[in-house]
Symmetry: C2
Subunit: 336 residues, 2 copies
């Protein structure tokens, strides 16, 4: 491996002089600069960031811990993160927890050891330990998508409560009264906030007594499948289902198909999150669209701000607006 010492030797100067040329710091004579640059070229020298980072205590690397990159919502978010990071010369290490708190702490630990400058984290249900860990180390971090109750920390998320409210309001205005909500985990705020929005919409419509039709499961296809089946057993049965995320919607759709129910003729189905690649064909599902790319981009910018400023600054809770897109999966309830 070619080091700064090799370059120095070849150019007949000290390592420090080479360092100055590379970083454009201090005084260098034109002639020396050229000699050093020539040596760098000839040796094809690439500086070692590791050594640099050890000195500077800055790696220009951030960690991105999310639950599952194959969820298109997080995919798009990750792209927003990488773009924002890249714009500022930062690299991104990405990690999938699959909602496991153990994996989360493991990754937080590994990334800490790797001395990342900061961390973006989609918290799992048991994140407080990780947060305490990070706070004890003064390692800047920004939470994504989900709040963690009782902690005053930076969060960038979408308005889950309002979005759910809008979706349910949309169903109500179509004439639905018996609407079941298929939530994710009851320990994840993006899930509970959506259920809260569902309840508020019903309450505002004077249908408080219908608000018990909320089933918690998990943000997975299987979770959606079983939650939908549970909802279908309710008496009288719901005329519409509100899925708290895209995976749940897919599972719910399967359950409906297996039950021989057509969407939207027999039952309406609406969902949080889009299915981006299906949009090219026949976009079907009425959804709340979240600005996933902006979320990732914005959170990264906030994190990088935190890194460049001195003090910790007031924690921010940035809530991005969501957008209702009405398609064909929601229709007025069947007569009777």
């Amino acid at each position: 491996m070619v080091t700064i010492a090799d370059v120095a030797k070849r150019a007949g100067v000290s390592k420090m002089t080479v360092s100055r040329v590379i970083n454009g710091s201090g005084y260098i004579s034109q002639e020396t600069r050229e000699r050093v640059e020539k040596a760098i070229q000839e040796l094809d020298y690439v500086p070692n960031s590791l050594a640099r980072s050890l000195r500077f205590k800055r790696t220009r690397t951030i960690g991105l811990i999310l639950t599952d990159i194959t969820n298109p919502f997080f995919t798009t978010l990750a792209r927003g993160v990488e773009d924002a990071a890249s714009e500022h010369g930062f690299s991104v290490i990405f990690c999938n927890t699959d909602e496991s708190a153990e994996e989360e702490s493991r990754y937080v630990n590994v990334l800490t050891q790797k001395q990342v400058d900061g961390l973006l984290l989609v918290p799992t249900a048991r994140t407080p330990e990780s947060i305490t860990f990070l706070e004890n180390r003064n390692l800047p971090f920004v939470l994504l998508d989900r709040r963690v109750p009782d902690f005053r920390v930076d969060v960038v998320r979408c308005d889950s409560e309002q979005g759910a409210h809008d979706l349910v309001y949309h169903l109500l205005s179509l004439g639905h009264q018996r609407i079941a909500a298929l939530g994710g985990s009851m320990h994840i705020t993006s899930s509970t906030d959506r259920i809260a929005g569902y309840r508020r919409a019903l309450r505002e419509a004077g249908l408080e007594h219908e608000a018990h039709r909320a089933v918690f499961s998990s943000f997975t296809i299987e979770g959606g499948f079983s939650a939908a089946n549970k909802a279908l057993t309710m008496q009288p049965p719901p005329t519409a289902l509100f899925a708290a995320n895209n995976f749940i919607a897919i599972g719910a759709f399967r359950a409906l198909r297996e039950a021989g129910l057509r969407v939207p003729q027999d039952i309406s189905l609406v969902s949080f999150d889009d299915l981006p690649m299906s949009v090219g064909f026949d976009p079907f599902l009425t959804i709340i669209e979240q600005p996933a790319y902006e979320m990732g981009h914005r959170a990264t910018q906030l994190l990088l701000e935190r890194l460049s400023q001195d003090g910790p600054g007031e924690p921010q809770d940035i809530i991005l607006p969501v957008n209702l897109i009405v398609r064909v999966s929601s229709a007025p309830p069947a007569a009777g």
Copy 2:
């Protein structure tokens, strides 16, 4: 920041002794070990991988350079990479080139500076420079998804030629004779291999004179849109379109819709790559499915093998089989 020196001081031993306890190397008395472990606990000490890596010349980090993580094919591949890396205690830095050779070299350079142990690379159209750069530095790397002609290097990819052949054969056996191929860039082997498979299928069917209906564009929705429009102007017009990837298929579908053509009644449409999230609903498109997850996983394993072995080993060209999934977007051509 708590360093090994702080732990040493607190435990009343030398740094070296602490290092031995951490790494379980050398001789340590039971009593000293416990005192050191207690100090580590009390100080909440986390080792600095940077310093370690500087010594060891190994970072346990690999780079993943792909074109665009929001393409579900690469998303799934990336997940396979991260899983395999994580299984072996490696972290993954991911980068999007958007098919730009400049971005590619920039990222290769950055990752080299960061001293990644190895690199996974989906080559762009002008990758040879990067390959030479990596070879000069003896930095192990494995190419993903695409070959680079004239270089004997490790590649993990799918059988694009055979897959395209199978797709076109499927159309032929439905009775289609005028089939247009919508390719990506003509400088990317996954694109040219698919066109080659298209041509072989026609040749084998004695329809060599029909093999001119191949349009190169780019692996994007816009590319697919314009390529499809071009194909539609051919006289006589094609009765089926073969899209060389999922984005092209989406663009082509839009073009068909705008032209007032129904799929498959008026024209058939088949494609390489699935649209995973749409599968939950009404899977529509007849496709060649690539084992994206396995590709990422397998390539990572190969890379990690390269890292652990001494010599460079014989370059491998691992070709994973693909799978035809017939759905409703392909049907016999309309009569007349």
